[in-house]
Subunit: 208 residues, 2 copies
């Protein structure tokens, strides 16, 4: 299809499409004689993915590029795509604070133990969770273990849903694509539903 | 205490403290003769709260100001503090996309129904969740109901933990303070633990 059709089908202005090509987010179209360039279905799909990451996931152009590079590695397994997506997606979420304290890291490891989770190794989430524990401490609200355990149980429910949805896809390329989309968009879905649930529980407990 | 002590106790440079006062985030200290200004315990507490919101919650200075204004309204009940914190904290999370489609909003309402939640009214999370549903659709990965229900169950677990932790505080001022801190920091905690749980479930299901 021509850029005008790609633009119409994806709701993306032609100038924006050209910008994504220049920035290396989208492969160039194929030049066919004169100054006509044609684009395929894979351009349309990739374009939707880029827009979801930029507009809903609020990633930077650089972060989107990193995620797409991981996606394009030939034969990348699901675990690798998760790791790359997590690294790129999470970088903007890493708190601008000192590295986590050893005691906060120990508390995260204790949560993992109590939840019966396998060792998560050097997952980027471990440091983030520990930094949040430190931040609550510093703000004068040390978090009880119960609180951390409830949040771990919630995270487990989310991850099970994530992997189940990925697992029913027939095609490894689509699986890694969903891993990326899901990592980015799932955070925002979780945030929205958490707001609603807070309102519901506040009202149920009559903490008006 | 003098600004030097406030600086040392909170790990905040004096210039930063003065900047927060100029920006209206921190009340001015009390001038006592000459050019000496003294600060109280409430300055130290407020300063920690400001830093947690800026550095861990990644709020803008303007968003922090809005949250603090809500916090300072005399006699503000917990539900009101939640609402104000949610509005301010969530604004930066609202996707830069078209308003949610009516069908996505209907799907969110159906999730609420199935979960047996009370009506959430015009909670800011409803539109955010619906926008995410639209974004998954647009990216070619329509979300199954099961997925949404799992995320709602996770949100419920988080909100119960949030409100339980708030509920044990004896003092309404501390309660609203924790509502704000918890709304901001809880999102980041949830994000960190979700990353870890994804790694655990991926490994358990051998989706290497």
């Amino acid at each position: 299809m021509l850029i005008s059709e790609l633009s119409e089908r994806t709701g993306t202005p032609s100038a924006t499409i050209k910008y994504y090509v220049r920035e290396g987010l989208l492969p160039a179209g194929e030049r066919v004689g004169g100054n006509r360039t044609i684009y395929g279905e894979e351009h349309a799909r990739r374009l939707k993915l880029i827009r979801a990451m930029l507009e809903v996931g609020k990633l930077s152009v650089a972060a989107v590029r990193t995620v797409l590079e991981a996606l394009d590695e030939p034969g990348a397994p699901v675990a690798h795509a998760f790791d790359a997506a997590q690294q790129a997606v999470s970088r903007s979420a890493v708190p601008d604070v000192a590295p986590p304290s050893p005691s906060a890291l120990e508390r995260v490891d204790a949560v993992v133990d109590r939840a019966g989770w396998a060792d998560c190794g050097d997952n980027i989430g471990r440091g983030i969770a520990a930094q949040v524990i430190d931040a609550f401490d510093n703000a004068g609200f040390p978090l009880p273990d119960d609180y951390l355990d409830s949040y771990a149980a919630a995270a487990r429910l989310q991850a099970e849903a994530d992997l189940t949805t990925v697992g029913v896809l027939p095609d490894p390329a689509r699986m890694t694509e969903l891993v990326v989309v899901g990592t980015v968009l799932g955070d925002t879905l979780a945030l929205g539903l958490r707001r609603m649930a807070q309102a519901v529980v506040t009202s149920e407990r009559s903490m008006q």
